[in-house]
Amino acid sequence: MNPVLKLVDLTVSYERHPAVHHVSAEIPAAEMTAIVGPNGAGKSSLLKALVGLAPRIEGRIECSAKRIAYLPQQAEIDRSFPISVLDTVLLGRWSRFGAFGKAARSDVQDAQHAIEAVGLSGFERRPIDTLSVGQFQRVLFARLLLQDADLVLLDEPFAAIDTKTVGDLMDVIRRWRSEKRTVVAVLHDLDQVRHDFPNSLLLARELVDSGPTARVLSSENLLRARAMAEAWDDHAGACEMPLPPSPVIPIGAKRSGGTSSSHAA
Protein backbone atom coordinates (compact mmCIF):
# COMPACT_ATOMS: atom_id res chain seq x y z
CA MET A 1 0.00 0.00 0.00
CA ASN A 2 1.21 3.48 -0.83
CA PRO A 3 2.43 5.49 2.13
CA VAL A 4 0.74 8.87 2.51
CA LEU A 5 3.51 9.98 4.80
CA LYS A 6 7.19 9.17 4.73
CA LEU A 7 9.58 10.28 7.47
CA VAL A 8 13.18 10.23 6.39
CA ASP A 9 15.76 10.49 9.16
CA LEU A 10 13.53 12.99 10.99
CA THR A 11 14.93 14.79 14.04
CA VAL A 12 12.86 17.34 15.98
CA SER A 13 14.76 19.24 18.64
CA TYR A 14 14.15 21.88 21.28
CA GLU A 15 17.20 23.94 22.14
CA ARG A 16 19.30 21.32 20.36
CA HIS A 17 17.98 18.50 22.52
CA PRO A 18 16.17 16.04 20.30
CA ALA A 19 12.59 15.06 21.11
CA VAL A 20 12.41 12.88 18.03
CA HIS A 21 15.70 11.38 16.99
CA HIS A 22 16.55 10.05 13.52
CA VAL A 23 13.17 8.50 12.88
CA SER A 24 12.46 6.93 9.52
CA ALA A 25 9.04 5.42 8.98
CA GLU A 26 6.13 5.18 6.59
CA ILE A 27 2.46 5.73 7.35
CA PRO A 28 0.14 3.77 5.04
CA ALA A 29 -2.67 5.63 3.28
CA ALA A 30 -6.34 5.12 4.10
CA GLU A 31 -5.43 3.30 7.30
CA MET A 32 -5.56 3.95 11.02
CA THR A 33 -2.16 4.29 12.63
CA ALA A 34 -1.50 4.72 16.33
CA ILE A 35 1.58 6.46 17.68
CA VAL A 36 2.50 4.89 20.99
CA GLY A 37 5.26 5.49 23.50
CA PRO A 38 6.01 6.70 27.02
CA ASN A 39 5.65 10.34 28.10
CA GLY A 40 8.40 12.42 26.57
CA ALA A 41 8.88 9.98 23.73
CA GLY A 42 8.33 12.69 21.14
CA LYS A 43 4.86 11.67 19.97
CA SER A 44 3.39 15.16 20.08
CA SER A 45 6.55 16.65 18.66
CA LEU A 46 6.27 14.28 15.74
CA LEU A 47 2.71 15.41 14.98
CA LYS A 48 3.72 19.04 15.40
CA ALA A 49 6.53 18.54 12.91
CA LEU A 50 4.02 17.12 10.43
CA VAL A 51 1.89 20.28 10.51
CA GLY A 52 4.83 22.64 10.65
CA LEU A 53 4.48 23.65 14.30
CA ALA A 54 7.79 22.24 15.52
CA PRO A 55 10.43 24.90 16.11
CA ARG A 56 13.17 23.05 14.30
CA ILE A 57 13.36 19.87 12.30
CA GLU A 58 16.08 18.08 10.44
CA GLY A 59 15.63 15.29 7.95
CA ARG A 60 12.69 15.08 5.59
CA ILE A 61 8.93 14.65 5.64
CA GLU A 62 7.33 13.47 2.42
CA CYS A 63 3.59 13.91 2.47
CA SER A 64 1.20 13.27 -0.39
CA ALA A 65 -1.93 14.35 1.50
CA LYS A 66 -3.66 17.35 0.02
CA ARG A 67 -5.33 18.50 3.17
CA ILE A 68 -4.22 17.82 6.74
CA ALA A 69 -6.39 18.29 9.82
CA TYR A 70 -4.74 18.44 13.23
CA LEU A 71 -6.27 18.03 16.68
CA PRO A 72 -3.96 19.55 19.30
CA GLN A 73 -3.95 18.57 22.94
CA GLN A 74 -6.67 20.48 24.75
CA ALA A 75 -4.18 22.29 26.94
CA GLU A 76 -3.08 24.25 23.87
CA ILE A 77 -6.48 25.89 23.43
CA ASP A 78 -7.84 28.75 25.56
CA ARG A 79 -11.06 27.12 26.72
CA SER A 80 -12.20 30.22 28.60
CA PHE A 81 -12.28 32.25 25.39
CA PRO A 82 -15.68 33.84 24.66
CA ILE A 83 -16.63 32.05 21.45
CA SER A 84 -19.65 29.92 20.58
CA VAL A 85 -19.68 26.24 19.64
CA LEU A 86 -20.93 27.02 16.13
CA ASP A 87 -18.19 29.57 15.46
CA THR A 88 -15.54 27.16 16.73
CA VAL A 89 -16.76 24.38 14.46
CA LEU A 90 -17.07 26.73 11.49
CA LEU A 91 -13.34 27.39 11.71
CA GLY A 92 -12.93 23.96 10.14
CA ARG A 93 -13.86 25.61 6.86
CA TRP A 94 -11.04 28.15 7.17
CA SER A 95 -9.42 26.88 3.98
CA ARG A 96 -12.58 27.88 2.12
CA PHE A 97 -13.24 31.36 3.46
CA GLY A 98 -9.83 32.24 4.91
CA ALA A 99 -9.21 35.30 7.03
CA PHE A 100 -11.44 37.67 5.11
CA GLY A 101 -14.05 35.71 3.15
CA LYS A 102 -17.64 35.12 4.13
CA ALA A 103 -18.85 31.75 5.33
CA ALA A 104 -21.40 30.39 2.86
CA ARG A 105 -24.79 29.20 4.04
CA SER A 106 -23.72 25.69 3.08
CA ASP A 107 -20.74 26.00 5.43
CA VAL A 108 -23.05 26.89 8.31
CA GLN A 109 -25.33 24.00 7.44
CA ASP A 110 -22.39 21.60 7.27
CA ALA A 111 -21.23 22.90 10.65
CA GLN A 112 -24.67 22.19 12.09
CA HIS A 113 -24.60 18.68 10.65
CA ALA A 114 -21.14 18.11 12.11
CA ILE A 115 -22.35 19.28 15.53
CA GLU A 116 -25.22 16.85 15.19
CA ALA A 117 -22.87 14.06 14.12
CA VAL A 118 -20.84 14.38 17.33
CA GLY A 119 -24.01 14.41 19.43
CA LEU A 120 -24.13 18.07 20.43
CA SER A 121 -27.37 19.21 18.76
CA GLY A 122 -28.75 22.26 20.51
CA PHE A 123 -25.33 23.41 21.70
CA GLU A 124 -24.70 25.70 18.72
CA ARG A 125 -24.96 29.01 20.56
CA ARG A 126 -23.39 27.83 23.81
CA PRO A 127 -20.11 29.54 24.74
CA ILE A 128 -17.33 26.98 24.89
CA ASP A 129 -16.42 27.82 28.49
CA THR A 130 -19.64 26.13 29.62
CA LEU A 131 -18.67 22.77 28.11
CA SER A 132 -17.13 19.78 29.85
CA VAL A 133 -13.82 18.37 28.63
CA GLY A 134 -15.64 15.60 26.79
CA GLN A 135 -18.13 17.97 25.17
CA PHE A 136 -15.34 20.28 24.09
CA GLN A 137 -13.51 17.35 22.52
CA ARG A 138 -16.70 16.61 20.57
CA VAL A 139 -16.66 20.22 19.36
CA LEU A 140 -13.08 19.82 18.15
CA PHE A 141 -14.04 16.60 16.36
CA ALA A 142 -16.89 18.44 14.66
CA ARG A 143 -14.36 21.00 13.50
CA LEU A 144 -12.18 18.17 12.15
CA LEU A 145 -15.21 16.79 10.30
CA LEU A 146 -15.64 20.14 8.59
CA GLN A 147 -12.01 20.25 7.54
CA ASP A 148 -12.63 17.40 5.12
CA ALA A 149 -8.97 16.36 5.26
CA ASP A 150 -7.43 13.26 3.73
CA LEU A 151 -4.93 13.03 6.59
CA VAL A 152 -6.21 13.49 10.14
CA LEU A 153 -3.68 13.85 12.97
CA LEU A 154 -5.00 13.44 16.52
CA ASP A 155 -2.87 14.27 19.55
CA GLU A 156 -4.16 12.31 22.55
CA PRO A 157 -7.78 12.58 21.46
CA PHE A 158 -9.01 10.54 24.41
CA ALA A 159 -7.00 11.95 27.32
CA ALA A 160 -9.38 12.48 30.28
CA ILE A 161 -12.41 11.44 28.21
CA ASP A 162 -15.06 9.01 29.47
CA THR A 163 -15.88 5.67 27.80
CA LYS A 164 -19.14 6.81 26.23
CA THR A 165 -17.49 9.79 24.54
CA VAL A 166 -14.52 7.68 23.44
CA GLY A 167 -16.98 5.24 21.85
CA ASP A 168 -18.81 8.02 19.99
CA LEU A 169 -15.60 9.63 18.80
CA MET A 170 -14.17 6.26 17.74
CA ASP A 171 -17.26 5.92 15.52
CA VAL A 172 -16.29 9.20 13.85
CA ILE A 173 -12.74 7.94 13.35
CA ARG A 174 -13.97 4.67 11.84
CA ARG A 175 -16.17 6.67 9.51
CA TRP A 176 -13.09 8.54 8.32
CA ARG A 177 -11.40 5.26 7.60
CA SER A 178 -14.34 3.99 5.58
CA GLU A 179 -14.10 7.24 3.62
CA LYS A 180 -10.49 6.32 2.76
CA ARG A 181 -8.97 9.00 4.95
CA THR A 182 -5.73 8.36 6.80
CA VAL A 183 -5.89 8.70 10.58
CA VAL A 184 -2.82 9.04 12.80
CA ALA A 185 -3.52 9.21 16.53
CA VAL A 186 -1.28 9.54 19.57
CA LEU A 187 -2.73 7.11 22.12
CA HIS A 188 -1.90 5.69 25.53
CA ASP A 189 -4.50 2.95 25.90
CA LEU A 190 -2.72 -0.09 24.43
CA ASP A 191 -5.84 -2.27 24.55
CA GLN A 192 -7.66 0.27 22.46
CA VAL A 193 -4.77 0.42 20.00
CA ARG A 194 -4.68 -3.36 19.66
CA HIS A 195 -8.43 -3.43 19.19
CA ASP A 196 -8.96 -0.55 16.78
CA PHE A 197 -5.71 0.43 15.11
CA PRO A 198 -4.25 -2.07 12.65
CA ASN A 199 -1.03 -0.13 12.31
CA SER A 200 1.30 1.29 14.95
CA LEU A 201 4.43 3.29 15.41
CA LEU A 202 6.25 2.80 18.71
CA LEU A 203 8.33 5.78 19.62
CA ALA A 204 10.84 6.29 22.42
CA ARG A 205 12.55 9.37 21.02
CA GLU A 206 14.08 6.91 18.57
CA LEU A 207 11.84 4.64 16.55
CA VAL A 208 11.41 1.28 18.29
CA ASP A 209 9.29 -0.32 15.59
CA SER A 210 6.55 0.45 13.13
CA GLY A 211 4.15 -1.75 11.20
CA PRO A 212 1.27 -4.08 12.07
CA THR A 213 0.14 -3.40 15.65
CA ALA A 214 0.35 -7.04 16.75
CA ARG A 215 4.04 -7.10 15.96
CA VAL A 216 4.93 -3.57 17.06
CA LEU A 217 3.32 -3.85 20.49
CA SER A 218 5.19 -6.99 21.48
CA SER A 219 6.22 -7.12 25.12
CA GLU A 220 9.84 -7.03 24.06
CA ASN A 221 9.34 -3.79 22.11
CA LEU A 222 7.35 -2.20 24.93
CA LEU A 223 10.11 -3.01 27.37
CA ARG A 224 12.63 -1.35 25.12
CA ALA A 225 10.45 1.72 24.84
CA ARG A 226 10.08 1.94 28.60
CA ALA A 227 13.83 1.79 29.09
CA MET A 228 14.19 5.02 27.17
CA ALA A 229 16.14 7.58 29.10
CA GLU A 230 13.73 10.42 29.94
CA ALA A 231 16.41 12.72 31.23
CA TRP A 232 17.42 15.90 29.46
CA ASP A 233 21.17 15.50 29.61
CA ASP A 234 22.74 18.94 29.93
CA HIS A 235 26.13 17.53 29.18
CA ALA A 236 25.13 15.44 26.20
CA GLY A 237 27.76 15.38 23.53
CA ALA A 238 27.02 16.26 19.95
CA CYS A 239 25.25 13.62 17.91
CA GLU A 240 27.76 11.99 15.57
CA MET A 241 25.34 11.23 12.77
CA PRO A 242 26.08 13.45 9.79
CA LEU A 243 23.50 16.16 9.28
CA PRO A 244 23.17 19.06 6.88
CA PRO A 245 24.83 22.19 8.29
CA SER A 246 22.49 24.42 10.25
CA PRO A 247 23.30 28.10 10.68
CA VAL A 248 21.01 28.65 13.67
CA ILE A 249 22.14 27.82 17.19
CA PRO A 250 19.32 28.62 19.60
CA ILE A 251 20.38 30.84 22.46
CA GLY A 252 20.12 29.13 25.81
CA ALA A 253 21.30 25.70 24.78
CA LYS A 254 24.53 24.75 26.42
CA ARG A 255 27.27 24.16 23.95
CA SER A 256 29.06 21.01 24.91
CA GLY A 257 31.53 20.48 22.16
CA GLY A 258 31.04 19.47 18.59
CA THR A 259 30.42 21.73 15.65
CA SER A 260 27.38 23.74 14.79
CA SER A 261 26.40 21.14 12.24
CA SER A 262 25.73 18.61 14.97
CA HIS A 263 22.97 18.61 17.52
CA ALA A 264 23.09 17.51 21.14
CA ALA A 265 22.17 13.92 21.82
Partner: protein, 289 residues
Protein backbone atom coordinates in the same frame (compact mmCIF):
# COMPACT_ATOMS: atom_id res chain seq x y z
CA UNK B 1 -32.20 72.45 35.99
CA UNK B 2 -31.41 69.18 34.34
CA UNK B 3 -30.42 71.17 31.29
CA UNK B 4 -27.96 73.20 33.34
CA UNK B 5 -26.56 70.06 34.85
CA UNK B 6 -26.20 67.86 31.79
CA UNK B 7 -26.43 69.86 28.57
CA UNK B 8 -25.36 73.42 29.26
CA UNK B 9 -21.66 72.74 29.88
CA UNK B 10 -21.38 71.11 26.47
CA UNK B 11 -23.61 73.63 24.73
CA UNK B 12 -21.90 76.69 26.10
CA UNK B 13 -18.23 75.83 26.13
CA UNK B 14 -16.27 74.90 23.04
CA UNK B 15 -13.59 73.09 25.00
CA UNK B 16 -16.22 70.87 26.63
CA UNK B 17 -17.74 70.11 23.25
CA UNK B 18 -14.38 69.09 21.83
CA UNK B 19 -13.57 67.05 24.91
CA UNK B 20 -16.88 65.21 24.57
CA UNK B 21 -16.27 64.36 20.92
CA UNK B 22 -12.73 63.26 21.77
CA UNK B 23 -14.16 60.99 24.46
CA UNK B 24 -16.63 59.51 21.98
CA UNK B 25 -13.84 58.70 19.53
CA UNK B 26 -11.50 57.32 22.17
CA UNK B 27 -14.34 55.26 23.62
CA UNK B 28 -15.45 53.64 20.39
CA UNK B 29 -11.98 52.81 19.07
CA UNK B 30 -10.16 52.27 22.33
CA UNK B 31 -12.64 49.97 24.00
CA UNK B 32 -12.50 47.51 21.08
CA UNK B 33 -8.73 47.51 21.36
CA UNK B 34 -9.17 46.98 25.11
CA UNK B 35 -11.34 43.91 24.59
CA UNK B 36 -8.64 42.30 22.48
CA UNK B 37 -5.93 43.33 24.93
CA UNK B 38 -7.80 41.44 27.64
CA UNK B 39 -8.52 38.40 25.51
CA UNK B 40 -4.87 38.19 24.56
CA UNK B 41 -4.01 38.53 28.24
CA UNK B 42 -2.06 41.62 27.36
CA UNK B 43 -3.81 44.11 29.62
CA UNK B 44 -0.79 44.80 31.79
CA UNK B 45 1.53 44.63 28.84
CA UNK B 46 -0.66 47.24 27.16
CA UNK B 47 -0.19 49.43 30.17
CA UNK B 48 3.55 48.95 29.94
CA UNK B 49 3.38 49.83 26.27
CA UNK B 50 1.55 53.08 27.06
CA UNK B 51 4.32 54.10 29.46
CA UNK B 52 6.85 53.29 26.80
CA UNK B 53 5.45 56.07 24.60
CA UNK B 54 6.94 58.58 26.98
CA UNK B 55 10.54 58.83 25.74
CA UNK B 56 9.33 59.22 22.17
CA UNK B 57 6.86 61.89 23.13
CA UNK B 58 9.53 63.53 25.27
CA UNK B 59 11.97 63.52 22.39
CA UNK B 60 9.30 65.11 20.22
CA UNK B 61 8.80 67.66 22.99
CA UNK B 62 12.53 68.32 23.14
CA UNK B 63 12.77 68.91 19.40
CA UNK B 64 9.42 70.53 18.70
CA UNK B 65 8.28 71.94 22.02
CA UNK B 66 4.67 71.35 23.06
CA UNK B 67 3.68 70.43 19.51
CA UNK B 68 1.15 67.68 19.13
CA UNK B 69 2.33 66.19 15.81
CA UNK B 70 5.94 65.98 17.00
CA UNK B 71 5.03 64.42 20.32
CA UNK B 72 2.50 62.03 18.77
CA UNK B 73 4.88 60.84 16.09
CA UNK B 74 7.62 60.37 18.67
CA UNK B 75 5.27 58.48 20.95
CA UNK B 76 4.03 56.27 18.14
CA UNK B 77 7.55 55.35 17.03
CA UNK B 78 8.65 54.66 20.59
CA UNK B 79 5.62 52.44 21.19
CA UNK B 80 6.16 50.44 18.02
CA UNK B 81 9.87 50.09 18.77
CA UNK B 82 9.14 48.83 22.29
CA UNK B 83 6.61 46.30 21.02
CA UNK B 84 8.96 45.02 18.34
CA UNK B 85 12.03 44.88 20.56
CA UNK B 86 10.31 43.09 23.43
CA UNK B 87 8.59 40.75 20.98
CA UNK B 88 11.94 39.97 19.42
CA UNK B 89 13.60 39.44 22.81
CA UNK B 90 10.86 36.99 23.77
CA UNK B 91 11.13 35.16 20.47
CA UNK B 92 14.89 34.73 20.40
CA UNK B 93 15.49 33.96 24.06
CA UNK B 94 13.57 31.88 26.53
CA UNK B 95 12.45 35.04 28.36
CA UNK B 96 8.67 35.41 28.54
CA UNK B 97 7.13 38.31 26.73
CA UNK B 98 5.72 39.98 29.85
CA UNK B 99 9.14 40.08 31.47
CA UNK B 100 10.78 41.54 28.38
CA UNK B 101 7.97 44.11 28.18
CA UNK B 102 8.58 45.12 31.78
CA UNK B 103 12.29 45.53 31.10
CA UNK B 104 11.63 47.60 27.99
CA UNK B 105 9.02 49.91 29.48
CA UNK B 106 10.88 50.65 32.72
CA UNK B 107 13.85 51.67 30.64
CA UNK B 108 11.63 53.78 28.43
CA UNK B 109 9.81 55.49 31.31
CA UNK B 110 13.03 56.49 33.05
CA UNK B 111 14.48 57.71 29.79
CA UNK B 112 11.34 59.71 29.09
CA UNK B 113 11.23 61.47 32.45
CA UNK B 114 14.92 62.29 32.08
CA UNK B 115 14.45 63.78 28.61
CA UNK B 116 11.50 65.94 29.68
CA UNK B 117 13.39 67.22 32.69
CA UNK B 118 16.24 68.28 30.40
CA UNK B 119 14.13 71.07 29.01
CA UNK B 120 10.64 71.24 30.37
CA UNK B 121 9.22 72.45 33.62
CA UNK B 122 7.30 70.35 36.10
CA UNK B 123 4.07 71.57 34.49
CA UNK B 124 5.07 70.12 31.13
CA UNK B 125 5.90 66.83 32.75
CA UNK B 126 2.51 66.77 34.50
CA UNK B 127 0.82 67.49 31.18
CA UNK B 128 2.54 64.58 29.51
CA UNK B 129 2.03 62.16 32.37
CA UNK B 130 -1.59 63.04 33.09
CA UNK B 131 -2.88 64.65 29.90
CA UNK B 132 -5.25 67.54 29.45
CA UNK B 133 -8.49 66.58 27.75
CA UNK B 134 -9.90 70.07 28.16
CA UNK B 135 -7.02 71.39 26.10
CA UNK B 136 -7.92 69.24 23.09
CA UNK B 137 -7.74 71.50 20.02
CA UNK B 138 -8.83 70.93 16.43
CA UNK B 139 -5.52 69.36 15.54
CA UNK B 140 -5.81 66.85 18.37
CA UNK B 141 -9.42 66.18 17.38
CA UNK B 142 -8.34 65.17 13.90
CA UNK B 143 -5.70 62.89 15.36
CA UNK B 144 -8.18 61.22 17.70
CA UNK B 145 -10.94 60.90 15.10
CA UNK B 146 -8.50 59.62 12.48
CA UNK B 147 -7.20 57.04 14.92
CA UNK B 148 -10.70 55.82 15.64
CA UNK B 149 -11.42 55.45 11.93
CA UNK B 150 -8.21 53.51 11.33
CA UNK B 151 -8.87 51.37 14.41
CA UNK B 152 -12.42 50.40 13.50
CA UNK B 153 -11.60 49.65 9.87
CA UNK B 154 -8.40 47.85 10.83
CA UNK B 155 -9.94 45.70 13.54
CA UNK B 156 -12.91 44.84 11.33
CA UNK B 157 -10.50 43.72 8.61
CA UNK B 158 -8.39 41.45 10.82
CA UNK B 159 -11.19 40.48 13.21
CA UNK B 160 -11.41 36.81 12.36
CA UNK B 161 -7.71 35.90 12.29
CA UNK B 162 -7.18 37.99 15.42
CA UNK B 163 -9.92 36.14 17.30
CA UNK B 164 -8.58 32.75 16.22
CA UNK B 165 -5.02 33.78 17.02
CA UNK B 166 -6.16 34.56 20.59
CA UNK B 167 -8.24 31.44 20.98
CA UNK B 168 -6.29 28.71 19.24
CA UNK B 169 -3.03 29.99 17.71
CA UNK B 170 -1.90 26.48 16.82
CA UNK B 171 -4.90 26.06 14.54
CA UNK B 172 -3.99 29.11 12.51
CA UNK B 173 -0.37 28.00 12.29
CA UNK B 174 -1.44 24.54 11.12
CA UNK B 175 -3.55 26.22 8.42
CA UNK B 176 -0.38 27.94 7.27
CA UNK B 177 -1.54 31.39 8.42
CA UNK B 178 1.05 33.71 9.89
CA UNK B 179 -0.77 34.62 13.08
CA UNK B 180 2.17 36.70 14.28
CA UNK B 181 1.54 39.16 11.46
CA UNK B 182 -1.95 39.93 12.77
CA UNK B 183 -0.54 40.18 16.27
CA UNK B 184 1.79 42.95 15.16
CA UNK B 185 -0.91 44.74 13.15
CA UNK B 186 -3.01 44.69 16.30
CA UNK B 187 -0.15 46.00 18.43
CA UNK B 188 0.30 48.81 15.91
CA UNK B 189 -3.38 49.74 16.21
CA UNK B 190 -3.11 49.55 19.99
CA UNK B 191 -0.13 51.90 20.04
CA UNK B 192 -2.00 54.30 17.74
CA UNK B 193 -4.87 54.40 20.24
CA UNK B 194 -2.53 54.98 23.13
CA UNK B 195 -0.98 57.91 21.28
CA UNK B 196 -4.46 59.33 20.70
CA UNK B 197 -5.45 58.83 24.32
CA UNK B 198 -2.16 60.27 25.45
CA UNK B 199 -3.07 63.92 24.90
CA UNK B 200 -6.40 63.44 26.65
CA UNK B 201 -5.49 61.23 29.57
CA UNK B 202 -1.69 61.21 29.65
CA UNK B 203 0.68 58.28 29.44
CA UNK B 204 -0.13 57.00 32.89
CA UNK B 205 -3.88 56.70 32.36
CA UNK B 206 -4.14 56.36 28.60
CA UNK B 207 -5.40 52.82 28.99
CA UNK B 208 -8.11 53.72 31.49
CA UNK B 209 -10.80 54.26 28.88
CA UNK B 210 -9.63 51.24 26.90
CA UNK B 211 -9.29 48.59 29.56
CA UNK B 212 -11.78 49.36 32.30
CA UNK B 213 -14.90 49.21 30.07
CA UNK B 214 -13.50 46.14 28.33
CA UNK B 215 -12.96 44.32 31.63
CA UNK B 216 -16.41 45.43 32.77
CA UNK B 217 -18.00 44.09 29.60
CA UNK B 218 -16.65 40.62 30.25
CA UNK B 219 -19.08 40.40 33.17
CA UNK B 220 -22.02 40.84 30.79
CA UNK B 221 -21.17 39.36 27.41
CA UNK B 222 -20.19 35.93 26.16
CA UNK B 223 -18.77 36.68 22.76
CA UNK B 224 -16.14 39.03 21.43
CA UNK B 225 -18.50 41.17 19.36
CA UNK B 226 -21.00 41.59 22.19
CA UNK B 227 -18.18 42.50 24.57
CA UNK B 228 -17.13 45.34 22.28
CA UNK B 229 -20.76 46.37 21.80
CA UNK B 230 -21.10 46.78 25.57
CA UNK B 231 -17.66 48.23 26.24
CA UNK B 232 -17.94 51.11 23.75
CA UNK B 233 -21.05 52.82 25.20
CA UNK B 234 -19.71 52.23 28.70
CA UNK B 235 -16.49 53.98 27.76
CA UNK B 236 -18.36 56.88 26.19
CA UNK B 237 -20.64 57.27 29.22
CA UNK B 238 -17.56 57.25 31.46
CA UNK B 239 -16.15 60.08 29.37
CA UNK B 240 -19.35 62.13 29.35
CA UNK B 241 -20.13 61.66 33.05
CA UNK B 242 -16.51 62.22 33.96
CA UNK B 243 -16.43 65.49 32.05
CA UNK B 244 -19.63 66.73 33.72
CA UNK B 245 -18.46 65.81 37.20
CA UNK B 246 -15.10 67.42 36.68
CA UNK B 247 -16.80 70.52 35.25
CA UNK B 248 -19.24 70.99 38.10
CA UNK B 249 -16.91 69.97 40.90
CA UNK B 250 -13.86 71.68 39.49
CA UNK B 251 -11.79 68.50 39.50
CA UNK B 252 -9.15 67.48 36.94
CA UNK B 253 -11.02 65.68 34.16
CA UNK B 254 -8.61 62.86 33.27
CA UNK B 255 -8.63 61.06 36.62
CA UNK B 256 -12.37 61.66 37.08
CA UNK B 257 -13.12 60.03 33.71
CA UNK B 258 -11.00 57.02 34.59
CA UNK B 259 -12.64 56.80 38.03
CA UNK B 260 -16.11 56.81 36.47
CA UNK B 261 -14.94 53.96 34.25
CA UNK B 262 -13.75 52.19 37.40
CA UNK B 263 -17.22 52.68 38.83
CA UNK B 264 -18.68 50.92 35.78
CA UNK B 265 -16.20 48.14 36.36
CA UNK B 266 -17.16 47.88 40.03
CA UNK B 267 -20.89 47.75 39.25
CA UNK B 268 -20.29 45.10 36.59
CA UNK B 269 -18.12 43.10 38.96
CA UNK B 270 -20.89 43.14 41.54
CA UNK B 271 -23.98 42.85 39.38
CA UNK B 272 -22.90 41.52 35.97
CA UNK B 273 -24.90 38.71 34.40
CA UNK B 274 -22.06 36.21 34.32
CA UNK B 275 -19.31 35.24 36.76
CA UNK B 276 -20.06 38.35 38.83
CA UNK B 277 -20.35 38.48 42.60
CA UNK B 278 -24.14 38.59 42.35
CA UNK B 279 -24.21 35.64 39.96
CA UNK B 280 -22.12 33.70 42.43
CA UNK B 281 -24.11 34.60 45.54
CA UNK B 282 -27.71 34.95 44.43
CA UNK B 283 -28.37 31.59 42.88
CA UNK B 284 -28.65 29.18 45.74
CA UNK B 285 -30.93 26.83 43.77
CA UNK B 286 -29.19 24.89 41.07
CA UNK B 287 -30.96 24.09 37.85
CA UNK B 288 -32.42 20.76 36.95
CA UNK B 289 -30.17 20.16 33.98
Amino acid sequence: MLYDLLIAPFAEFGFMKRALVACLCLAVGGSSVGVFLILRRLSLMGDALAHALLPGAALGFLLGGLSLPAMSLGGFLAGIATALVSGAIARFTSMREDASFAAAYLTALALGVLIVSLRGSAVDLMNILFGAILAVDDQAMFLVAGTTTVTLVGLAAIYRPLVVECFNPGFLAAMGVKGGLYHYVFLGVAVLNMVAAFQALGTLMALGLMLLPAVASSFWAREVWSMTAIAAPMAFLSGAIGLLVSFHAGLPSGPVIVLVASLFFLVSLLFGSRTSVRARLSRPVHLRG
